[in-house]
Symmetry: C2
Subunit: 246 residues, 2 copies
């Protein structure tokens, strides 16, 4: 399982992904699921993946080799895409191609070929965007009303984002809320695990401001989890008990 | 969809259930999913249901009519069950019987016959118990280490319970935490909705202390939701921003 979240606020984009993959509970590994591709000053993309690892890895490789659109001569890559919309379309095409190629064989073995991707970034002269791309190649775009998207095991970490993140949230507060959301997920589902990869990309900078991996022993994340537990305890203690009954 | 939670603490048992059922998004109704059967001083049972409504309603009717165990002459009901374990077994048998009866026909129409039940209560002379019963008739019992069980759309409301409920939590605090958990679910999934039914049963009293329905206009629940939002905001504001980057 996996949990990845992308938060698109006024100041920029935050992306967070765990690194745990498992084939059953006795075959657990660490794999990077957040990938950043940047040509500083020109373009930057971040891809966070969820679902069948062989499918998402193959899709990324295909994307690197380039995809020839119907009627085109030259393969198109993220480096040549002329807009974020066009780039998201390419990522979707890569995912769909791999799923069509390997899906039927996987299904015969009752293995899901499902996968999904959060794709964010900016190309010089164009807007900063965040998309959720499905394995059939279609995608939705993150908007200011609900300024975040999630893939994987998304439910445990959703309430804090629903209640607290707005488009005006400061970007490092958005990162903090994303980490609280990740911590709520870690606490509830063993299939999501540390280390955590994260990216902070400020709007129009065309260059990552922060790429960081939170290792299990990191003090800030550990303290965040403890402080959040304490704060929740204080929060519900301050709410009056139900007025019913005794 | 549905969300029901049962919390079994030192003082007693809390059960909470929403009332929304839907067949598609354009066919939404209110149905009671929390049912209390009590003979004060003698025995009390609470049943919260999730899944296919025709299956759970039929299982409850079957349970009321009585189930004849292999080799027995007389039908057995919750009124005649000699222990909570035996009563849970009966509920499981009722669910399995209905599923076996109607399941194949439903599956041909691609409708799930899955259902699950939270079953709690106490019989005079025996202990207070809480079980989660699956549609195949098997069940698990709630213990003091994780003093709650959930059915239905359980993930959104899980983090607050995981972090805050212990066996020693006071019973009306457990109710409050259950309502916060319900509110987190309501905020994230339209298929879970008000009114909310709830039961408070104090250990060894053999009589419900509180049976209540929270209607949409109720002030306490509305305020709880607002106060929880405010408290969460304060809680994360008090946690330092991540020390990385700018």
């Amino acid at each position: 399982m996996t949990y990845c979240a992308g938060i698109l606020v006024q100041d920029g984009l935050v992306m967070i992904a765990d690194t745990r993959t498992n084939a059953g509970v006795d075959d657990v590994s660490v794999f990077r699921k957040l990938h950043v591709f940047e040509t500083p000053g020109e373009r930057i993309f971040a891809v966070a993946t969820s679902g069948n690892l062989s499918v998402t890895q193959s899709a990324l490789s295909l994307l690197a080799e380039g995809i020839i659109a119907p009627g085109a001569d030259e393969p198109e890559t993220l480096d040549t895409a002329t807009s974020m919309f066009r780039a998201a379309h390419l990522v979707g095409q890569a995912l769909r191609t791999v799923k069509q190629d390997i899906g039927p064989a996987l299904e015969r073995d009752q293995i899901s070929a499902e996968a999904s991707i959060l794709f964010g970034g900016q190309i010089r002269g164009g807007p900063l965007k965040l998309y959720m791309i499905y394995s059939t190649g279609n995608f939705i775009e993150c908007g200011a009303d609900s300024p975040f998207l999630q893939i994987g095991e998304h439910k445990y970490g959703r309430p804090i984002l629903v209640r607290s993140v707005t488009f005006k949230t400061e970007i490092y507060d958005a990162l903090k809320l994303g980490l609280i959301s990740m911590d709520s997920t870690l606490k509830s589902n063993l299939a999501v695990g540390l280390p955590i990869d994260l990216l902070v990309l400020r709007r129009d900078k065309l260059k990552s401001e922060l790429i960081h991996r939170i290792e299990p022993e990191e003090a800030y994340f550990h303290d965040l989890s403890e402080q959040w537990s304490d704060a929740l305890r204080a929060a519900h203690t301050n709410i009056p008990r139900p007025p019913y009954g005794a």
